[in-house]
Symmetry: C2
């Protein structure tokens, strides 16, 4: 499915800016911050503003097109892969790795109830020192 089709499916009108942000998310599985996305797209769309990037990412998160990762307390990171998976955050270099999810998988129906609460999102992450940083020691 193309980025354009994905947006149309969610009822989001595919403006140049929105397509560029979604394309970036789908082609760069680096869990970028809003700022990283903004800087990367500046060349391509010189008039792009950071506000639009923030607006667009919020729209994507609200519509289930992207995930908001709040692992790093300084910046929010975004993930275009909305499938159930975990992350590993390196305290030394700040890199975010994808990891398999190790918890109970929620039932097929997207909505699940736990202790009376309606669960809409499931998050799991690990923190530590990544293998790349460990090699440098």
């Amino acid at each position: 499915m193309t980025a354009r089709e994905k947006l149309l499916e969610c009822g989001i009108s595919p403006s140049v800016q929105r397509l560029a942000v979604l394309d970036y998310l789908l082609n760069h599985r680096t869990h970028p911050t809003a700022d990283e996305i903004y800087l990367a797209l500046c060349d391509e769309i010189p008039t792009l503003s950071k506000t639009t990037v923030y607006n667009t990412l919020k729209l994507f998160v609200d519509n289930g097109v992207a995930l908001m990762l709040t692992i790093n307390e300084r910046n929010v990171h975004f993930d275009g892969d909305v499938s159930l998976h975990a992350h590993f955050y390196c305290k030394r270099c700040g890199h975010l790795y994808d990891m398999p999810y190790s918890g109970k998988h929620p039932s097929k129906s997207r909505m699940q109830t736990m202790e009376g609460h309606t669960v809409e999102e499931v998050h799991q992450y690990y923190k530590g020192i990544c293998r790349s940083c460990l090699q440098e020691d």
Copy 2:
């Protein structure tokens, strides 16, 4: 174990301010923010500064006395319960509930390796609408 003993055990000198913050965390399982802790302790310790609360919480997190919860992208919350458990965050009221951890429990030895990374912390949380907010609908 008293708060004082806990601090001594970790090699943290138990100042009035540090004891007050730890006491607050252990007696209020509400996952408070730095600001909430500051406001609550202002009466007790009129000279307390927010900087000291931030310094103290950082010290606690670095020494495994408290957990830093970055679920809410606006404020960091803190938890004096460092045992392995999950959280539920209500998108409507912002309340944080304790939940059982549903993933694989890490091995007894505190350090665990996953895909070559050294894991020091494991986090799991859910987001949705809590039972209290659901009743209001």
